[in-house]
Symmetry: C2
Subunit: 435 residues, 2 copies
């Protein structure tokens, strides 16, 4: 593709086959969410800049696409609007704006593009689809479990196999820090380092913890327990003496008991070293790990004060997000047998209007149909078009057909032809459509 006609860096043109694959996946996701009673929310592509700024940290702020002021203010070089960076800040704004007009709890999903000025790379785009579902206004563990179940059903509905839900609670992590004697002020930094246990060797993690000021004598037992073969048991044991830790374990166990029966037992596991980087989580957290290290397919958790921090009302909230671009990569490639047409209608000049009517009749029968729109009046050329367009049948009407008062229906697969009297064509097409 000549560079000057590329879409902007990090964005994509979706031609028919790829778009339909995506749309088909989104459609299935919507149907699962609807079955759970989640409702759609669609917010504008841009928000006022002040609504977004300061909500994603300094690094996030730099990735926001800002829109220049217009008219006489354009010359100032200032921005007043910005492209949506995620679906959560708009949700907080909507919760503030509509208040009691929204159902309680408010269960909504959002599927649509967000924009981030990240450096584009393999599977990383500047315009990409996010798919969120969130429940606002309830602290019930059933709301957390419901989100997890819905995500599980979505992955199943999309035909994905070989994934596992990792379950933890921020309160388990707090209890862990307490039980292993980590000074409170080191806590957040220690968690950030523990989050790297998937990528770094235990010894490396211990070294990094030392750099954060945690003595190796304290770090080693903590890392040892988290990486042991029976880590879950060791942690359960260690948390017995921490109120916070026990409360966290209780959250995890409640979730596990609600999920039993809905999510197969081998697909959900207590993962005490799951941290999830975002500091705003307050309770249960979870992630979906794909087999073979393809990374995380989805993640979420409870974030009881975030909506207020983002400018909304102070309501408890829980939710999750599907890594759509990663998930879409795992889905089967678009069907190469895909076609745009069922019926191709050839056109001879003097019979053009009749051919046009044949195509309409085929559409009335529920078939996808088009007349030949090119310049050639040669039948062979037109049949090549019919074949290229993947049509199952071609309708041919020329002078011979006019004389016979019939249309020739050619099966493009077998080459067999039938002569169908004009009056019988609608019925014949209906039979073709019925298969």
């Amino acid at each position: 593709m000549p560079t000057q006609f590329d879409p902007p860096s990090g964005t994509r043109d979706f031609l028919a086959a790829e778009w339909e694959t995506r749309e088909h996946a989104f459609e299935r996701i919507r149907s699962v969410f609807a079955r759970y009673g989640f409702e759609p929310l669609v917010t504008p592509a841009f928000e006022r800049l002040d609504v977004l700024l300061g909500k994603y940290g300094d690094d996030g702020d730099k990735l926001i696409f800002k829109i220049l002021r217009r008219g006489e203010h354009e010359g100032t070089g200032e921005a007043d609007l910005a492209l949506r960076y995620d679906h959560t800040v708009p949700l907080a704004r909507v919760a503030a704006a509509y208040g009691s007009q929204l159902p309680t709890p408010y269960k909504r999903y959002a599927i649509g593009p967000v924009w981030r000025a990240d450096r584009p790379g393999h599977g990383r785009y500047r315009e990409f689809a996010q798919c969120d579902l969130d429940t606002l206004g309830t602290s019930s563990a059933m709301a957390d479990a419901e989100v997890i179940c819905a995500v599980h059903d979505v992955l199943g509905e999309l035909g994905l196999r070989g994934f596992r839900f990792l379950l933890n609670s921020r309160r388990v992590l707090a209890g862990l820090l307490e039980a292993f004697g980590v000074p409170a002020d080191l806590g957040p930094g220690v968690l950030i380092t523990l989050d790297k246990l998937d990528k770094l060797a235990p010894a490396e993690v211990i070294t990094e913890l030392a750099g954060r000021g945690l003595a190796e004598a304290q770090a080693a037992p903590l890392v040892g327990a988290l990486t042991a073969g029976d880590a879950a048991e060791q942690i359960r044991d260690a948390l017995k003496n921490s109120d916070e830790g026990a409360a966290g374990l209780d959250e995890v166990d409640t979730l596990l008991s609600l999920l039993a029966g809905q999510v197969p037992g081998d697909r959900v596991v207590f993962a005490p070293r799951l941290v999830r980087g975002l500091s705003y989580y307050t309770g249960p957290i979870w992630e979906v790990a794909a087999e073979g290290g393809a990374g995380s397919l989805a993640g979420g958790g409870r974030y009881d004060h975030l909506i207020a921090l983002l400018g909304g009302p102070d309501v408890p909230a829980t939710g999750g997000s599907l890594g759509m671009e990663r998930i879409l990569l795992l889905l089967p490639r678009p069907d190469t047998g895909r076609t745009m047409l069922d019926v191709a209608v050839t056109v001879m000049d003097e019979h053009a209007a009749r051919s046009f009517a044949f195509a309409a009749a085929a559409r009335d029968a529920g078939l996808r149909a088009s007349v030949y729109l090119g310049n050639s009046r040669k039948l062979g050329r037109q049949l090549k078009w019919a074949s290229d367009s993947g049509a199952r049948w071609a309708l041919i009407y020329g002078n011979n057909e006019e004389e016979a008062g019939a249309v020739t229906v050619r099966d493009m697969t077998t080459g067999e032809q039938a002569s169908v009297p004009l009056g019988g064509l609608p019925g014949y097409l209906a039979e073709l459509a019925a298969g």
Copy 2:
């Protein structure tokens, strides 16, 4: 709604009911287009600024939302990207980029938001949906007729009545100027004024034409012929001596003959005074007028050199655009009887896991279902939620039900209750789902 939580000026939040109404309409439109063999194309929300600038005239350029450069370049106050202003310029870019990888002809539709920094007003937004279909690469009149038929089918599929296709050709207009002796250099201006015959009285139009330098002696017969009761006949007569005019009439008549049978005769008319402001049309032009002066619902025509002007290959092209926001206003309001749930499941603490499983069973039966997520353990409160959420049935499971080994299924409309043994619940739910 408190002002600070409004969406940005000229944009809208779509909550569930309104979004579903829109999405339902879009879905029906897509299915009509697919029946005609048009394929979807989805381009990024933004393009490189130079792709858009200069394509919409000076006034259009001012309405483009420009995106500030990022990182170290942000301080320059310069823009390098801009939000999509329509679907046509991106189509031209895609035609240039993908060339022969696209089918010939390339029949594509685009449905999605575009952004214009227009002054917001009644029915006028800064983020609004456009719905285009276009055929590139053929000069066949059947392509023009196909677009018109597809738009006609879309309006019918959406349940609209009382609209009429006005048909004309730019070549008819050219012939008209010739036949009525309008000097060539006055032509474009005269057409702009003639386009106002719907809003202004004939005398006012004649005055405006005089202001453009067209003598009243020439203007009066022209305006007279266009506004006569038998305008179509008068114009047909006047065009007999103009080659260009005769060719234009031939285009119109070819279209009328192709449309006969597909579009009822009283829904399509030769409208010699239809101009359509845009200067890039080269052949047939058309518009859909709504009854009662609700304005134009759709419009389009042939624009054989525009794609090249916009940076694409020089291919003949024809297409149309639906005025989605106006059309959506004419559709029935969202169904107020709409609900999010079929089945509401009450929750008593000790039986929470069981209730959770009941909701899953209802979903397995194809019903939309949710457990109660609030804090109250009072049945009355929970049944009020079931009623508020519009559920048809409530499932109740408490100590009595546990003892009986059965779940109570309450018909929320009649208040009737049935006791369904646990083992029989899936079958019972399947029967409810089957209606």
